[in-house]
């Protein structure tokens, strides 16, 4: 089952396409990270997926084919917007009351137990909670709806490291205990490495990379060798090149079994390095993009 599926999805604001020709299928049971520079279309894509925005072109479904924004889709989806907003003048208890009455399904005992564990005082106004506690409150309200899909827009960007860890621990626990699928956008690449097992890279409103992290990492290698020979690989699927006077680093699409040219060394790469390499090559540059024909079994690269 695909937890989010988009086909030719586009959203235009005035004369600007915020998202364009977005086609992807995120399977259920993953933590899918949506990564890209500012203005790449991350928030637009998430808003379309949860039904807060209407597509200009194409369509998007969630939870295995339910139209985004339909009553059935909304029942199974929970969304925490950027900066985890709550009503600052309401207490945590008021927020619980409000959320319970605005939703068809709300697990009050779960919410109360979780807030108790987190040590969030029910009678304190949300505006007087710490940033980390506010984020936990917003997340708890979302999880108490017992969603099958949890969508988080930049959930930890504003949090300190401890609050960030505690927030993600709560998300991961919900995933382990209830099998919630998670789609989140983030700038914090280092945090993604521990959490994300599916990557969607957006650039200038288009999907640049999508696939399971394990598959993507297994199908990319960093080759290090003499700069003079770097151009010999112009017809190979090179993603990104860093040239020094004598030594060059090529990020190529290759597996551990692919032969390494003499006088070159091949290294496996991490998620952060892979992401950065693609972010630095957002469009058609001096170098050819990944070859279209070369597709790894679990990943897909489009340009």
């Amino acid at each position: 089952m695909n937890i989010v599926e988009a086909s030719g999805l586009g959203k235009r604001y005035g004369g600007t396409w915020a998202l364009r020709e977005c086609t992807l299928a995120i399977p259920a049971g993953h933590v899918a990270a949506l990564v890209g520079p500012n203005g790449a279309g991350k928030t637009t894509l998430l808003n379309l997926a949860v039904g807060l925005a209407e597509p200009t072109a194409g369509g998007v479904t969630v939870l295995g084919g339910l139209a985004a924004g339909s009553a059935a889709a909304l029942d199974g989806t929970a969304f925490v917007a950027q900066d985890t907003p709550v009503y600052r003048n309401l207490s945590a208890a008021d927020m619980l009351h409000l959320t319970r009455n605005l939703n068809r399904r709300f697990d009050q005992p779960y919410a109360q137990a979780r807030l108790g564990e987190l040590g969030i005082p029910l009678n304190r106004k949300a505006g007087r909670l710490s940033g980390g506690q506010r984020a936990q409150l917003a997340l708890t309200l979302a999880l108490a709806r017992r969603p099958r899909l949890l969508v988080l827009d930049e959930p930890v960007a504003m949090l300190d490291p401890v609050a960030r860890h505690d927030f993600m621990a709560l998300v991961m626990t919900a995933m382990a205990a209830e099998g919630v699928s998670v789609v989140l956008s983030s700038h914090v690449l280092a945090d993604l490495e521990r959490v994300a097992d599916y990557l969607v890279l957006l650039s200038r409103g288009r999907v640049q990379v999508a696939g399971e992290v394990a598959g993507l990492l297994a199908s990319h290698r960093l080759l290090t060798g003499p700069t003079a020979e770097a151009d010999r690989y112009a017809d190979r699927p090179v993603v990104h090149v860093r040239r020094g006077g004598a030594q060059a680093h090529l990020l190529v699409r290759a597996t551990a079994d692919d032969p390494v040219p003499p006088s070159w060394e091949a290294h496996p790469i991490g998620l952060e390095e892979l992401t950065l390499a693609y972010l630095r090559e957002p469009g058609a540059g001096a170098l050819p993009g990944p070859a279209r024909g070369q597709r790894a079994p679990h990943s897909e690269v489009t340009r």
């Binding site: 933590v31 382990a176 490495e193 097992d197």
Partner: protein, 225 residues
């Protein structure tokens, strides 16, 4: 308690008894020698009569495959070990978990019958993807070191190095002496590692290729790669 004492036992029955013995051993109700002896007898048991005495004198002997196993010793029914992560190591997260279990087995922190931390608890304490923990536990199961019990968790079922702690301490001390000599001879850390690795390879080659265990040596090379 067993009817039909002359009936032949199945592997599953033998396993149920060794599992129970491992539980009691982990809980400190059996000494090492007694445990080894009884496991040996369980494995070679042919009839129910052979098996029936092996759990004698131990609590809960009426239910060889009971779902709730009482665990003595620890305060909470948890695992003897706790995982940590080194973000700077460059080793994939799931592999770090695998290495830590192997390490704990080798040093005797984990014994057959011990439970690994529950996936939920690992996820909650490290804030990592549950799929990562599952992948690590699956890898350990494939290596034959653990077994999953539906609804209960993952349990250790094999040992790695059977060297006792005092002996390990002696070996550690001898190695420190060697390191001192190597240092005095002007070898730096990388040089020592290289020399040790090459000597290790020679040692197992001389023993004949089949002797190479997937123990410390392979774990280390994975970590370095």
């Amino acid at each position: 308690m067993y009817s039909g004492q002359h009936l032949r036992v199945s592997d599953a029955e033998r396993e149920a008894v060794t599992d129970r013995l491992a539980e009691h051993f982990a809980a400190g109700r059996l000494g090492q020698a007694e445990f080894d002896d009884r496991v040996e007898r369980a494995i070679s048991a042919r009839t129910r009569a052979d098996l029936s005495g092996l759990l004698a004198g131990l609590p809960g002997t009426g239910t060889p495959a009971g779902p709730e196993l009482p665990r003595g010793g620890g305060s909470a029914p948890g695992s003897p070990i706790d995982f940590r992560l080194d973000a700077a190591s460059g080793v994939p997260t799931y592999l770090q978990l695998v290495h830590q279990v192997e390490h704990a087995l080798r040093l005797g922190y984990l014994k057959p019958g011990d439970q690994l931390p529950k996936v939920r608890d690992v996820v909650a304490s490290l804030a990592i993807n549950p799929n990562t923990v599952l992948k690590a536990y699956k890898e350990l199961e494939v290596k034959g070191l653990t077994a999953g019990r539906p609804g209960q968790g993952t349990f250790i079922q094999a040992t790695l190095g059977q060297v006792a702690l005092p002996e390990l301490a002696g070996l550690h001390k001898a190695l420190l002496g060697w390191l001192g000599t190597a240092d005095a001879a002007g070898l730096d850390e990388d040089g020592m590692v290289a020399l040790f690795t090459s000597a290790l390879r020679d040692f197992y080659e001389r023993r004949g290729g089949a002797g190479t265990r997937r123990g410390a040596a392979s774990g280390n090379t994975e970590g370095v790669a």
